[in-house]
Symmetry: C2
Subunit: 157 residues, 2 copies
Amino acid sequence: METLISKVLDPVDIQILDILQKTANISNAELGRRVNLSPPATHARIKRLETEGYINRQVAILNQEKLGFDLLCFIFINTDIHQAEQLEVLEQNLEAMTEVLECHCLTGEFDYLLKVANKDRRELEEFIRKLNKLGISRIQTSLVLREIKQSTVLPIL
Amino acid sequence: METLISKVLDPVDIQILDILQKTANISNAELGRRVNLSPPATHARIKRLETEGYINRQVAILNQEKLGFDLLCFIFINTDIHQAEQLEVLEQNLEAMTEVLECHCLTGEFDYLLKVANKDRRELEEFIRKLNKLGISRIQTSLVLREIKQSTVLPIL
DNA sequence: GCTGAAAGTATAAATTC
DNA sequence: GAATTTATACTTTCAGC
């Protein structure tokens, strides 16, 4: 069974996407060499992949530890809000909090899962206090003891 | 109270890191303009930030949806392994699985939290079957219904 | 850290396959 | 229709200051 991808992306596109999602700071010439294409052809493909929305953005991944974010945690929350508009507000508030790296709406016991970065216990406490003002009925916090894997690489190959 | 960061990174460094963690595909010249520095000075700072390990890497963030990864989920697992060496093997296996985007060792009810990307129900089932062969005593899966926020930006400002 | 020049890249246009 | 080569503008990067 073939997926939708193959209808619009050929193997070279996939190769380019895979190289870029692992290291984006690579020259066109080098990328072209790896996929056996001239620099202009490579460049045109990247542009196409960008405009067609396959590449969202390019970012630098910073070193959490060196920047003092010792307290990564996952926070599971339930809300007692049921009105759609108020839920919208809650979600906008969660999104706007810079400590919140990720927020997912989940199936299962909890409504939302947050991934939160804080520098120390004091900051985390302050963050949870802010959370409690947003209409949260239940919070459960799990600290990250150790990172085993942290990646943004999708298995497209 | 001041953190350790300010002893080695000045405000311009922080500014550069913050711009790059939001958009890495920006020219030196443009970056220099934004932080009021000449291109060579900007470049030298980036190189320093890289060699000193503040910048881990630069990556392209791909569009999960467009690439067919409809089934993002969080999987909570417990293991019945207690020997250090065998745990090491388990962790190496988890890390090696390309569907596993993240793996964290956690406090609380579960030992590990996995963030997993799959294309469909069939792939997910296969993944869970693979997991079960690694010495897992308990698995709980939560599907992501909706992404409210997905970011790699640390609140360094 | 700045300025200015040399080397290296990205990108557009013209050409070929 | 897509890739290559050629040509140009732009950026990075190395001196000297």
